[in-house]
């Protein structure tokens, strides 16, 4: 019974989500026809056809890649790898680990908690969780590339891959220093 209930909850949530997206499409179709007439409506259908034909193969491939990454990457091993490193290499590893951590927030936040409780501090914790949130490979593969295209996804990656480390260093500098001062000698 305990396993059935979350499944039931999930399927209910999915039904509500799909109903909301369907309502969004119906309202969109209504307003499109109302505001732009038949020509605008047909133009929208042509855009949708083009987008779907372009996206479906990409989404299928992206989900295949994400599924393989989910199987191949072991968060525990990744965490052990980072703990063995020293200095700035640790920051680089935290960024990479954040980007490739498979699964949703529950797995990434449990890794973050392990980092914080094992004394790795804000430098690694902030770097890791920022990299996970902004550079997550699964999100890039499933959403960024299919919807925004490779060029836009690449621009976002190149302009931001160094920023989680910057955030980690900033956090360690400001808040780590403050906590050191507060700590009794």
């Amino acid at each position: 019974m305990s396993t059935k209930e979350p499944k039931k909850k999930r399927s209910k949530k999915r039904t509500i989500e799909l109903a909301a997206y369907s309502a969004f499409c119906i309202f969109g179709a209504y307003y499109c026809y109302h505001l732009k007439g038949q020509d605008g409506f047909l133009a929208a259908l042509a855009v949708q056809e083009e987008m779907l034909l372009g996206m479906l193969p990409r989404i299928t491939m992206a989900l295949g890649v994400a599924s393989l990454l989910w199987v191949l990457l072991d968060p525990e091993k990744l965490k052990e790898t980072i703990q063995k490193r020293r200095g700035w290499v640790k920051v680089v590893y935290a960024t990479i680990l954040g980007a490739v951590t498979p699964g949703g927030p529950s797995s990434s936040f449990s890794i973050l908690n392990m980092f914080l409780s094992s004394g790795l501090g804000y430098l690694i914790g902030i770097t890791y969780i920022t990299a996970w949130s902004m550079l997550g490979v699964q999100r890039i593969l499933i959403w960024d590339i299919p919807l925004m295209g490779t060029e836009q996804a690449g621009l976002r990656f190149i302009s931001g891959f160094w920023l989680p480390a910057f955030a980690g260093l900033f956090a360690a500098w400001i808040f780590g220093k403050y906590e050191d001062e507060k700590r009794p000698c």
């Binding site: 997206y21 949708q48 992206a62 191949l72 529950s106 302009s159 955030a167 956090a171």
Partner: protein, 164 residues
């Protein structure tokens, strides 16, 4: 037609598939099971998102978007994009649909980078459901302070790259 993104994904799929096959421990079968679950979960949503986006692209006046968020508007779209991204209280389907709609209406790449990055870092639903409970309010406060400039810095970097 084979687009660069599709080629990249095919290459990744083949490489990772080969690595999974070499492990010889049922990884390929596990990945296939996961793939089927993901297809069932994402595909209907994605199709509806694309249909909705197609209608939005027709409704939203593209002149307004390109005037205020386009390349010619300079640095200002980065701020609009960054702050708007922080305020999107929904999952990736909504955030990326909005971004794709804005892109189709002529928004500058820098504004889109600021928008998506801000949403990725400050997704309100994730902060409320996970971060406050799993990482604690102090960590959350520190993360929000140090990460606040990131969407704008990423936007400026994109602006420099695209206008170089």
């Amino acid at each position: 037609m084979l687009s660069p993104s599709l080629l990249l994904l095919v290459a990744l799929l083949l490489g990772l598939g080969y690595a999974a096959k070499r492990r010889n421990d049922g990884s390929v079968e596990q990945a296939y099971e996961r793939f089927k679950q993901q297809i069932a979960q994402f595909l209907p949503r994605m199709i509806l998102v694309v249909i909705g986006t197609g209608f939005l692209l027709q409704i939203i006046p593209s002149e307004v978007i390109s005037t205020h968020l386009g390349k010619d508007a300079g640095w200002v779209p980065i701020f609009y994009g960054g702050f708007a991204g922080m305020l999107v209280p929904a999952g990736p389907a909504v955030a990326f649909t909005t971004a794709a709609t804005l892109a189709g209406s002529g928004a500058a790449p820098a504004a889109l980078v600021a928008f998506i990055t801000a949403w990725c870092i400050f997704a309100i639903h994730r902060i409320l459901i996970y971060e406050t409970h799993l990482a604690g309010p102090r960590f959350l406060m520190i993360r929000c302070i140090v990460a606040a400039p990131i969407p704008f810095v990423a936007g400026f970097a994109t602006h420099l790259m695209t206008n170089f």
